[in-house]
Amino acid sequence: MRIESRAQFEAVQAEAKRREEGRTQKILVCCGTGCLASGSKQVAEAFAHEVTERGLEAEVGLFVKTTGCHGFCERGPLVVFQPSGILYTKVKPTHVAQIVEKTVIGGEVIPRLVYKNPVDGGRIPQYDEIPFYKHQTRVAMRNIGRIDPTDIHDAIALGAYSGLARALFEMTPEQVLDEVETSGQRGRGGAGFRTARKWRSCRKAAGERRFVLCNGDEGDPGAFKDRSIMEGDPHSVLEGMVIGAYAVGAHEGYLYVRDEYPLAVVNLTIAIADARKLGLLGENILGTGFDFDVRISRGGGAFVCGESSALMRSLEGKTGEPRAKYVHSTDKGLFDQPTVLNNVETWAGIGAIIQHGGAWFASMGTEKSKGTKAFSLVGKVKNTGLIELPMGTTLRHIIFDIGGGILNDRPFKAVQTGGPSGGCVPESLLDLPVDFERLTEAGSMMGSGGMIVMDDRTCMVDVARYFLAFLTEESCGKCVPCREGLTQMLHLYDDLIAGRGTDAHLAKIERLAAGMQLGSLCELGKSAPNPVLSTLRYFRDEYVAHIRDHACPAGICRDLTAYEIVPEDCDGCHACFKACPVDAITGVTKELHVIHHEACISCGACFDVCPNDAIRTFPKVRLSTEVV
C-alpha cells in the first residue's frame, strides 16, 4: 500500500503503535555487527524458539525483536527486557531457557548475566542506570536498539517519518531551511559546516539536476558510529535525505556506503524497498507530488573516498581522487550539478529536528556547536562502545564517568580524537568541553567522532608514527605534499623510533608539517600532520628523550627498550617463560626467572602476561654503556 495522504500516514502510524503496544513484553536482542560476531544471531534464534515452544507470544504478548547496535559492543551479545528494563550481557544460547524461565516468566534477575560495573564491582541490572547509558542523550541514535531495523512499521511506531510528514504537509522548502538553520546543526562528518548554509547554497545554485548524497564511507580506525546508524536505524538516514531533498529541490540521491559494511548495505536496501512500497520514497511521496529516490553505491575500499570531491568522482565511476574545491559542490558537485553531501549522522538528526523543532535541538550543546554528537569510545578505557552526548560534554566526563576510567586503573596519558588526522589531547586538557571549536583550538578535531583513549604504556612518537603509516597507505597520491610528504615523514619517524633521531629531525618534521598543511590539495593531506603537531605540542619531552637519551619513556619502541625481571616481585609463576616467543627467558617454576638480553626482541609479551607486574622496562642504551 502506498500512503497518499496525511490521514493515511497517521493511520499507518496508529496501526504500528497499536501493534507495538500489543507486545506487552519484549526481548530485544542486539544484532549489530559487534554482537553478531559474538553470536547474537544464535541467541535471538534460541529466544524465538523458546518463546514459540512455550506458546508465550500468544499467552503473554511476548515478542522477540532483533535490533541494531546498543553501543556497548564489548559486553555483547546484549539482551534487553521490556518493560522491566533489565540488561543482560554476554548472553549465550545455552542461557536462554533459564532466562525465559526465571527472568521472563518469574520476573527474577540472574545476577551473573547482569552488567558488572568495572569501577566498583557492583552489579547494575537496569539498562538506564548503567553509567555508560545513563549519561547519554540520543538524537541521531534515538531509535537504535529499540527497533528492528528491517521492519519499517517498527520505526514508524517510534516516530520515524513524522518529521518528513511535517515537512511535506506543513512546511515549504524555505521553512524547512529555516528550521534547520534554527537548529544550528553542523555537519557531523568532521568539518562542521552549517547544514542550513550548505542546503541554501545548493537550493540557490543553477543546474538541470540536483543531488542529495549521504557519506557513509566511514574509514577512520576505531570509528563506527555511521555503521551503527545505517545498520540499526536506516530509516533515520532516509527520512533525513528526503527532507533535505525537499528543502533543496532535488529528486535524486545516493548513499555512498563502504563495502566493508555489508550489514549496513543489507539493512539500507531493505529500508529503501520498504519505504518505496509505503510511498515514503520514490514518486509522489505521501501523495504530495514530491519525487525523490535514492540508490546505494558501495565504496571500493579507499579511505580518501570519504573526502567529498573524491566521493563524488567515485560515484561518477572515476578514480576516487579529490579535486580543488574552489567551486563548491553545492554549485558543481556530482556530474557538475548542484549537490548536497552530508554525513550519515547529520542526516539521521534531520528527521528529529523537523519533528521536534530546531529550537529543541539548539537547546542542547554549546554556543557554536549545537545538539548532540556520537562518539566511538575505544582504547584503554573500561567501557568501550558507541555513545551520544550533548556537545560541550567534557573529555573527563566521557572517559571517566561513561568510560569508567582507564583499563586496569593505569594512569591516563592522552585521548586521540578525530581519526587519523585528529590530534592527541593531554591530561591537562581533560576538562575541555568537546565541541568543534575547542577541539580545533587544542590542535585536534571533531572528525568522525572517534576517541581513542591511551594510558601510560603508550609512546606518543609511536602513536604519531602509527597514524602517519595509516595515511601513507591511504593517501591517494595525487598531490606531491601529501604523497611524498607522508613518505618522508614516515622515514623521519622510523629514524626516531629506532634511536637514529637528531635535533635536525625535529626541525625537518616541523618544516615538512607546515608545508603539507599549506600545500596539500585536500583535507587528508592538510590535516595529516595533526598527529605530529599535537604530539609535538604536548609531548615534546618524549621526542627529546628518543633523540637525546635514545630512550622511549613509555617503554614501547622496541629498538630503544629492554626488559628485566624485578627479583623481589617474581614468584616464579612461569607465565613469562611460556609467553616468550624467542626463548629469551630462563627459570623453573617457583624460582626467579631471568630475561637474556642478547636473545630478547623486546616484544613485551612477558610484560603483558606477568600477573605480579614483576617485569619492567629500561632504556636499551643502558645495556651497551654497562658493558663499556
Binding site: Y326, V327, C479, H491
Partner: protein, 254 residues
C-alpha cells in the same frame, strides 16, 4: 570580465580565466609542472601555489590556492612570491628532488628555489616520473585512455591496465611528447613504432614512403573526426608539395 591585481599589477582577464592566466597577463611567472594549456587544470604538483586576498578579508589574512585552477575573481589580490608561498614551493621541490634526484628538470627548478640537494631521504630507486598525470590526462583527452595511474599513495605509478601491453593504445606518442621529464620510452621509424610494450605498424605516405602516424592512430582519428583515413597518410613533405602545386596552379590561372 574580472579585474584583479597580481603582485601589484592590475589586469583584466576574460570570464572563466584562472589566476594563472591572470599572472601570465600581468607578465608574472608562476612555475608549474602538471599544467598544460588545453588540458583541464589538475592541481596536483602544487608548484603554482599563490596567496589570495579577497575584498572584505582582514588585510593580513590570505588563502593559499593553486593558480592553475582557481578562478580569477573580481577585486582579489594575488601574491605570487610571499615568504610562505616560496617556502611551500621549496618544500614541494625538496620532496620531488628526493623522489627524482637525477632528473634535470627537477634539479633545475629546485636550484632556482635554493635547493642543491634534498634534505629528505633520496629515493633508493630514482625515477624521472613526477606523477604529474599529464600523460594519462592527454590520453583521456584524445579519447583513448590506454594508461592510467594505478595504486595509491607512495605506490602510485603510471601504467597500462594490469601492467600489460595496453590494448587501447593507438601509439600516438602524445603521452611521451607531453611528459615534462621525457620519462616514457619509445622508438619510432618509418616502419614501426614501439611504446608501452606494443609495436605498431606505421601508416606510410604512398608517395614518399615517410610515416607520420600509426595505422591504428589514423583509424582512431578518422573515426573520431569523420575525416577520411587517407588524409592522415600524407607526410609533411607530401602536404607541402600538394600545397605548392596548388598555389602554382592558382598562379598560372591568374
Amino acid at each position: 570580465m574580472p579585474s584583479l591585481t597580481v603582485d601589484g599589477t592590475r589586469v583584466a582577464v576574460p570570464d572563466g580565466a584562472t589566476l594563472l592566466d591572470a599572472a601570465r597577463t600581468a607578465g608574472v611567472h608562476v612555475p608549474t609542472l602538471c599544467h598544460f594549456d588545453g588540458l583541464e587544470p589538475w592541481g596536483g604538483c602544487r608548484l603554482c601555489v599563490v596567496d589570495l586576498w579577497r575584498p572584505g578579508w582582514d588585510p593580513d589574512w590570505f588563502k593559499m590556492v593553486t593558480a592553475c585552477n582557481h578562478p580569477a575573481e573580481d577585486g582579489v589580490k594575488v601574491f605570487t612570491a610571499t615568504e610562505r608561498v616560496l617556502e611551500t614551493r621549496a618544500v614541494v621541490l625538496d620532496l620531488l628532488l628526493a623522489r627524482c634526484p637525477e632528473t634535470p628538470l627537477i634539479q633545475r627548478l629546485a636550484r632556482e628555489h635554493g635547493i642543491e640537494r634534498t634534505s629528505y631521504t633520496p629515493n633508493p630507486e630514482p625515477t624521472d616520473c613526477i606523477l604529474c598525470g599529464l600523460c594519462t590526462r592527454v590520453c583521456d583527452h584524445i579519447g583513448v585512455s590506454a594508461i592510467a595511474s594505478v595504486d595509491r599513495g607512495a605506490g602510485r605509478e603510471i601504467a597500462p591496465p594490469f601492467h600489460e601491453a595496453p590494448p587501447d593504445c593507438v601509439g600516438c606518442l602524445a603521452c611521451a611528447e607531453i611528459c615534462p621529464t621525457d620519462c616514457i620510452p619509445f622508438t619510432t621509424s618509418n616502419a614501426t613504432r614501439t611504446i608501452w610494450g606494443r609495436t605498431f605498424e606505421m601508416l606510410r605516405d604512398p608517395a614518399t614512403g615517410e610515416a607520420v602516424i600509426t595505422t591504428v592512430q589514423a583509424e582512431h582519428f578518422a573515426a573520431r573526426s569523420g575525416v577520411p583515413k587517407t588524409y592522415f597518410e600524407s607526410s609533411d613533405s607530401s602536404k607541402r608539395r600538394v600545397m605548392a602545386e596548388t598555389f602554382a596552379r592558382l598562379g598560372q590561372a591568374k
